[in-house]
Amino acid sequence: MGSVRMTQVTALVLRAVAAGHRYGFDVMEACALPSGTVYPALRRLERAGLLRSGWERAAEAHAEGRPRRRTYALTTPGRQALPEAETKLAEVRRLLADLPSTSAREA
């Protein structure tokens, strides 16, 4: 059970799962990040014990005519790590506010 280095990506992914996105591709869409970025983050978070993975109920999935999907949820340590994620995201917001947009530079 190590802790994970909180990067912008892991912060976003954590936030997304906290917000209720259970499935891998959902998180991908919610974060607007490619699967190649999101899945390694999911694995790291799970290894660090901040996420728990499972499978949705097979019966429900089959009823909808599709195979069961893997689900991700926050664990207790994961919930405790949320403030740290928020701090990281706040940093990003600040950076965006400070960075001048292209038009401002050309002006």
């Binding site: 190590g2 891998g24 991908m28 699967s35 190649g36 290894r47 195979p67 999907r69 893997r70």
Partner: protein, 873 residues
Amino acid sequence: MLARLWVWLVSALVPRRDREEWVEEWLAELSATGAGMKHAWGAVPDAWTLRTDGWTMDGMLRDVRAALRGLARRPFFTALAGITLAIGIGANTAIYSVVDAVLLNPLPYPESDRIVSANHTAPGLNLPIVPHSEAMYMSYLDGFHTLESFAVFDEDNINLVTDGDPQRIDAARVTQEFFDVMDVHPMLGRAFTEGEDRPGSEPVAILGYGLWQQSFGGDPGVVGRVVEMDGVQRRVVGVMPKGFAFPGDEVELWTPMVIDASNPDLGSLSYLGVGRLAPGQTIAAAQAEMQQLLYRFADANPDELPRSVLEQAGLAPDVKPLKELYVSDLKQALWVLLGTVGFVLLIACANVANLFLVRAEARQREQALRSALGASRADLVRQYLAESVTLSLGGGLLGLGLAALGVRGLVAMAPVAVPRLSEIGIDGSVLAFTAVISVAAGLLFGLFPVFGYARKDLSGALKEGGRATTSGRERHRARSALVVAQVALALVLLVGSGLMARSFAALRHVDPGFAADDRLTFRLTLPEAEYPDAAGPRVFYRQLADRMGAIPGVREVALTTAVPLEKDYKNASPMEAEDKPTPEGDLAQLVNVRNVSPGYFDAMGIQLEEGRDLTWDDAGDGVRSVVVNETLARTFWPGESALGRRVRGQGSERPSWEIVGVARDVHFERLDRDPEPLIYMPLVTGGADGPRGVRAFAVVLHVGAEPLDFVPAAREALREVGPRLPMVDPRTVVKVQHDAMASTSFTVLLLGIAAVIALVLGTVGIYGVISYVVSRRTQEIGVRMALGAPAGLVLREVVGQGMVLAGIGVAIGLVGAWGVSRVLASLLYGVSTTDPLTYAGMALALTLVAMLASWIPARRAASVDPTEALRAE
């Protein structure tokens, strides 16, 4: 469709245990969202993340933690392995720290790789180093362009008189550019200025930091003070920074070398030279330039140094990095030692590998389970290595501590002349070395069981016992191989140290030719200022000898320039027989010179074969008598008596001396070589500028009892005749003799320790293997004994197994020892590298020890209760 194919393809990267679920996950996502290749690319990084799971920092930390837990669960195993490794690694660290400081580290001066020693060598005379004369120095000084600065120096002792007792200080006289060569300048005051090296200028001195602190209280006002040194009032002009000590650690004072530039001394080659290479210049260039300077000097001084003598002696410049000047003696011994402790480490690793093999077997089931649950081969290997490297790093840490202590002891015991002593310690490169060999050792013994084990099909191990399986046999072979290796290595070490020990014993039995027991000696130096010319010393010698002789219990007194076997004393001159002069252009025989007082031969117990001893009158004007040793008599007048013949320095204008006595040969320089020609001259001899008395000499007192008890009385007597003379280095002549053998005895000691450690480890190894084999075969042994096999037979069989292993190891070891002994050849005396006694003796000893190590577990086996054994699993 393509995406699904892609996922299936990439799944090959995923570790087997996760593969099925991984495929399920990805295919489900693709189905549910209808996503295509665009999103399926991400499967690759995902698969890769899972694959390298173990190899991340996190993963490895996990392995280390698991390793620590595993080690903690078996404290006995961990302690045994850890201590074994600590000893092996610690020994290596200790020797390496010496090698590092003495051989590898650059000298502690700025850009020290540009500082060179610039002297000559004369292989034709068997003289590895030939220093400069004053005249040579002056001639070279202007000529050197490849050196931006050039200086010569001379070591000296100075009697320093401050408020307390007179002290003897090690000092150095240096020429003008000395501090430029070293590029270290006084931190207080200044260096010597132009003109302070001329005769008649005010005498000055520069203090070392330590001396300044101790004898002057660190007073910054010391600059400008006048202090009496050797009877001369010298003004202190500077203080050197802390840590500067050249040419040796003990030098605490520097004075300018005063040279009369109009008439520099030609004859006395006494001053070692150092220089700093000019930017862009190389050693080769400096050496070539010096060759030219040498020729130029020879051509300008054809009487002193004719070209023919130059060629005959092979006199040539010898420019090399300064560091090499210090270390040439010790180099070989150090590398031998490093090799030795390397062996010890290998033996230690073999022991620990054996321990790990045992452990591996015990954890068979656990490993099989893990494997079945999905741990790949790579995972298992990684976990093994985590454990072994963690253990060996731990052992390395402990070893580092042992080394830190050991080095202190090593350095304290070391033969006096270990250069750069103060620089030896645990520094960055020593730490790095320890880390590297710890990890290497860990990998070595960690991989050993892995290769024999993780490879095999483990399903068999899950079943009951799994004893007589193929893998069990293979493991047994591995353990046996390890034990054989240990025994072989141990034998090599034993033979090596045995040969050295015999050398040492042979040296101790060499008859030195004089009597060393019950004799006290100490040195004195008469400052020129207080005992000018020859008259002063002459009177003093007599007074001293008489006063010392008056001490109750003193039988005989003698003065001599050097006690036999005194370390680092060499004084030789070319001399010839007056009636057989050396042909023009040839170099005469080099003869060693000692100046002695009358009564020397009695005092030292040296037999006079012919003629008589010197008398006090022999040092008078007009009378010139000497005594020579047998070798000189034989060399100059083979088959004839030397009595009455005359000798002189080379050249008909030299004064000649009459031989009045021939003394028995004495080992005055080395115990392991035949003595060279030696001449005993009186204390007062005639130089070109009139009679001169020796100023630095040793006093020998032959006493009736414990010599050291006489030191206080001798000090008292000395205070009466020479109140301002410090008594230097009082010790017994026996100690002088022992010091002469110090470096041999030191090497013997260390090799002996290493050999003993190797023996102990090897024994433990054999014991371990046999013990284990016996324990595995308890059931079988029980059955056999129940069926009537006599205990004696079982005993013999088990011991026999051990002996076979030992026998193979000894055979290999004998071959190895023969190879290694050639390295030692130059260090040996009186014993050949293939000395059968040593080889046979050590082989026998090791075999007996192996027998004992096998016998103990065998006895246990034979005494086992058959019914118990049958019940055992």
